[in-house]
Structure formats: structure tokens, C-alpha cells
Point group: C2
Chain length 316, copies 2
């Protein structure tokens, strides 16, 4: 959590951690250790960053902190379920709930986390926050169902891929920004710009994540790579390479060939072009709120992603 991205938001994240820790009391005593465990090994807290970034301005901090907690809890719930379904033993360097407590308790705990996120969303007077968060959650899960059904489908189109990553990742980025801008008391123009930014950034982030899965060393990324191909999941480089030369690049990767040998130079270049275009689109939708604290902060995120793209691109 101590990346350059979090600079200047130390107070926000201190408040967020305190708030999240307090939520433990809302669960039965048996459930609390599971809750403490998932909080003890946080990831990058990207979604709270989006909420804080979109909400910053003159408004009070507590509503933003609650908003950030809501989107982080939804994200954590999906991770808990993903880890059960993938049989993953580790996440952020710590044993997963599934590993610690079994699939049974982990699935139900994920449900409870998700439900608690919506309890917090319902503390807002109008049902607007609930609607945003529930819709995004439904789309995330539907997107993951689609991805599950698509496993092993070597004919997945570029349009299918875009729909999947939009649903499984980008809509929660969009919701994180939307909730932040709303709870920060901003106007419609600001809310719309931030929400659109989140959608584009989410698409870019998922493409980046899919590229990392093929390109970066396990040691650096802290997770096992090449897992997409192994699980029959087609990602952007595999689809573009297949479209370019035919054959079954995903199958070649699954048989152990190296990504750098399977995917051509032209395909990598095209992937990075698509990724860059999405980052640029994210920046462009911020035009209407140019000069605001939110816009400046959200540009920091795109700059950071650009920098990482450059590093990854040089490894391709």
C-alpha cells in the first residue's frame, strides 16, 4: 500500500483501515478471525484509491471512507470466492480463507462480506449507493460466469474479450469512482467524468494484468504466471495472435512454449497500442473537470499505469 500512488492520501488510508477494522464487530464471533485475516494482508487498494481520488475536494472525509470501504469489501468478497474456485492457497503472501478454513466456510464468508458491503451502502439515505454497488457486483459476477463458460473456447472473439473484462473488472472501477464522486458531494459533470474514467482505467488495468500474466517473472509479480493459458482462458495477446496467423497460440502456451516465442512482435505491439489507447481515453474523459484535485489525482494513476506499461513493453 506504500506506492507513490498513495502519497498525500496517508490520512485517508489510515481512516479507511480504522473503519474496516471496526467492521469486525458486525460479524459473529466465529466469523471475526476470517475477517481479520483478509484485512491483515491488503493488496494495493486500487478501488479505494479511485473512490478517494474521485471524491476529493471540499467534502468531509467520513462518507468517502465508507464509500472506499464498500468497494474494497466487494472486491475482497470476489477474491475470497475466486480463491475457492481456483483452489488458491496464497493471496498477498498469506494463506487464503479457503486454505485456512475450507471451501464451505470461505464461500459463505465471501457472501457475508459482500452482504456487509451492501449494509454499509444502505447507510446512505437514498438508495443510490446501493444501486451502483449492487449493479456493479451483479455485473462482476455475471462477467465471471461468462468467462467460466468461455474456458477452453478457442474461438473467443475480441468483442467477447472486451465484454468480459469490462464486466469482471471495469464496472467495479467505474462504481468505485462513481461512489467517490457522489459521496464527495460533486456535481453531475464531475460524477460522469469520474465514472467514465473508472471504466476506461478498469479495461486498461485488466489488459495490463493479462499481459503481465504472460510476460513477467513469477518472482516479480508475486503470483504464478501463465495461469490464464493453463486454465483455458483466452486473453488479448492469444486472441490477436490467433487472428493474425491462425492456429492455436493458447494451446501452444498450455503445452509449455514460452510466451515470447508464441506471440509475435507485431502482436505484442498491437496489445500495447490498445492498452495505451484505453489509458488515453481515460485521460480524455477527464477534460470536463480539468484542473480539479480529482482530475490531477486521477492523472497520477494513468501516469503510473503508463510507466508500468513501458516497463512491461520493454520486456515483451
Amino acid at each position: 500500500m506504500s506506492t507513490p500512488l498513495h502519497q498525500g492520501l496517508e490520512a485517508h488510508f489510515t481512516a479507511l483501515n480504522a473503519f474496516l477494522n471496526q467492521q469486525e464487530e458486525c460479524f459473529e464471533p466465529e466469523v471475526r478471525p476470517m475477517f481479520r485475516e483478509v484485512l491483515a494482508h491488503p493488496g494495493k487498494r486500487l478501488r479505494p484509491l479511485l473512490t478517494f481520488g474521485s471524491g476529493m475536494g471540499n467534502g468531509p472525509l467520513p462518507p468517502l471512507v465508507r464509500g472506499a470501504a464498500i468497494v474494497e469489501l466487494v472486491h475482497l468478497a470476489t477474491l475470497v470466492h475466486d480463491d475457492v474456485l481456483d483452489g488458491a492457497d496464497q493471496r498477498h503472501g498469506a494463506p487464503t480463507p479457503h486454505r485456512m478454513h475450507g471451501a464451505h466456510a470461505a464461500v459463505l464468508f465471501g457472501d457475508a462480506l459482500f452482504a456487509h458491503a451492501l449494509v454499509l451502502a444502505s447507510e446512505h439515505n437514498t438508495s443510490e449507493v446501493c444501486a451502483i454497488v449492487a449493479r456493479a457486483s451483479r455485473d462482476v459476477c455475471s462477467g465471471e460466469v461468462c468467462q467460466t463458460f468461455a474456458r477452453g473456447n478457442t474461438e473467443l472473439t475480441l468483442a467477447d474479450y472486451h465484454r468480459q473484462i469490462r464486466m469482471k473488472t471495469a464496472v467495479l472501477f467505474e462504481a468505485s469512482c462513481h461512489v467517490g464522486a457522489l459521496l464527495g458531494g460533486h456535481n453531475e459533470k464531475h460524477i460522469k467524468a469520474c465514472a467514465q474514467f473508472g471504466l476506461h482505467l478498469g479495461v486498461a488495468y485488466q489488459i495490463y494484468d493479462d499481459l503481465i500474466d504472460l510476460l513477467q517473472d513469477t518472482a516479480k509479480a508475486g503470483k504464478t504466471l501463465g495461469t490464464d493459458a493453463a486454465s483455458g482462458k483466452l486473453t488479448l495477446p492469444m486472441i490477436l495472435e490467433r487472428n493474425r496467423r491462425g492456429g492455436d497460440p493458447a494451446g501452444e502456451l498450455r503445452r509449455g512454449l514460452k510466451a515470447r516465442d508464441v506471440i509475435s512482435h507485431d502482436t505484442w505491439s498491437e496489445c500495447f497500442r490498445i492498452l495505451e489507447a484505453e489509458v488515453t481515453a481515460a485521460e480524455q474523459v477527464l477534460q470536463p473537470i480539468h484542473g480539479t484535485a480529482s482530475s490531477d489525482f486521477l492523472h497520477r494513476l494513468t501516469a503510473y499505469l503508463r510507466e508500468n506499461n513501458r516497463k512491461l513493453s520493454s520486456a515483451s
Copy 2:
């Protein structure tokens, strides 16, 4: 669905079915067949009965139908997850989503169902319906986590048992009544009476269900019985019998001894006394709204449960 309980509510259930069928459009094309499958083999729709019963009066039907759909979808989501966790192949005489589409898709589909219930809840202007439904859902899942952790614990107390069944079953009955009374436009007195009724009826219903698990023939109940003891779950008769004579009645059942031989006559009597007391408590909390359509209808439910208790009692 064509029990005497549903008499007079034919229009309500026709509207509910139509409304539920329409919701299919809110899911991605890949998810829709799963949604159709869970709707095609409905259970008794007890929770919608509670919503309609608590809400009936002079208000319009559509808000009640939405409320009934919300609580039924939450219930269906928990069933989908339960069936994955129990590896159940059949539910209401049809293959489960888990059986048809695998654990992966079924867990994610359950999440999407639950999220969609909250999308519908957020269509109410205030966040009240969201709050009721999200809280109840959190408690249901927390209660199931507690029950999971308690498996194989031969020292489970009566208080533990009551806490578990309150959370895993009764709070959703309570929420079903609460949402119904609220969306039916009733006053605070009515809402409170109905919510309390739901809580008591839920406790009674779960005790009844636990007794059935030990007493009724498979053929009659349409599901495999004696499953609680087999899975290490202690229920009321086992706890009371253990408290009475010591030993490990649950272990005896697990080893294949018949419930009628393991559990003494006095223990069965005590179980039915506790169950009857809960049904009576449910009726008593309706006193303040005596004479209303809701009260009359909800009394039909307790009469029905009493009648079933009597039949089951004569089998003990």
C-alpha cells in the same frame, strides 16, 4: 406451490412469476439459462408468502411483488451456494446449477442472483429495503459460517443452536415480513408485529425442518433425510437427548441407528413443546394488529405449521 396456503393469492403469485421471469433480461445471455432453470422448479415460495401476507391491505400490488421477488432471490442464491457446498445433485426434483454447470459457474451465479436481489431492493427510493435485505443476508451467511465451524462439535449448546437457526433461517423470514409490511404501506405497529412474527415463525420452521430430517421418510419429504447427523450437524433432538442422558446421540445416528431408537420419547415431546411454544409466540406478537387481513393470513400459516407438527409428532 399449490398448497392451501396459497389460496386467495393466485393473482399475487402469477404476478410474482411474471416479474421473476422478466428479470432474466438483467443477466448476460450466458447466465440466462441458469436463471431460467432455478425458476423452473420453485419450492413452496414461503418467503414471498410472508411478504404478501404482511403487506396485504389496501396498497398496490407491484411494490409487494418486487419485495417478494427480492426475498425469494436471496433465498435462491443461498440454495445455489448450499448445493455447491453440499455437492447436491438435485433440488425440487431437478438437477442443481452445480450439477448442470459445475461449482465454478454455480458459485458465481449465486453471487449474481444475490446482487440482483439488491439491485431490485435499491429501486425503492430510500435505502430502507436495501438495509433490511442486506442485513438479513449477512446474518444468514454468518449463521451458516457458524454452523459450518460447529460441525462435529458434540458440545454444541441449546443457546448455540438457537443462535444458529435464528441467523440462518429466521432473520430472512423476519426480513420477508418486514419488507412486505413496509412496501404494503403499513404503519410502524403493523411493521413491527409482522417482523416479530417472521422471526418466531422462522425459528419454528427451522426446528420443524430439523425434526423432519430425523423423522420423515425420504419418499414423503422428497429429499434425503438424516443428513444433519451424517454431516456432523447437531439439531434440537440430539442436543436435548445428550443433555438428558449424556453420551453421543449424534454419533449413534451417524453410525446408522434409527432416530426413534436413539431419541427418547421424553425428548421428542420436549422438542414438540418448544416448537409449539414458538408457534404460539408468533401468534401472540400479532395481537396488536388483530383483525387485519395480514393477521388473519399469517394465522393461516401458523395453523398450517401446527397441523404439520401434529402429523409429525404422531410419527415420533
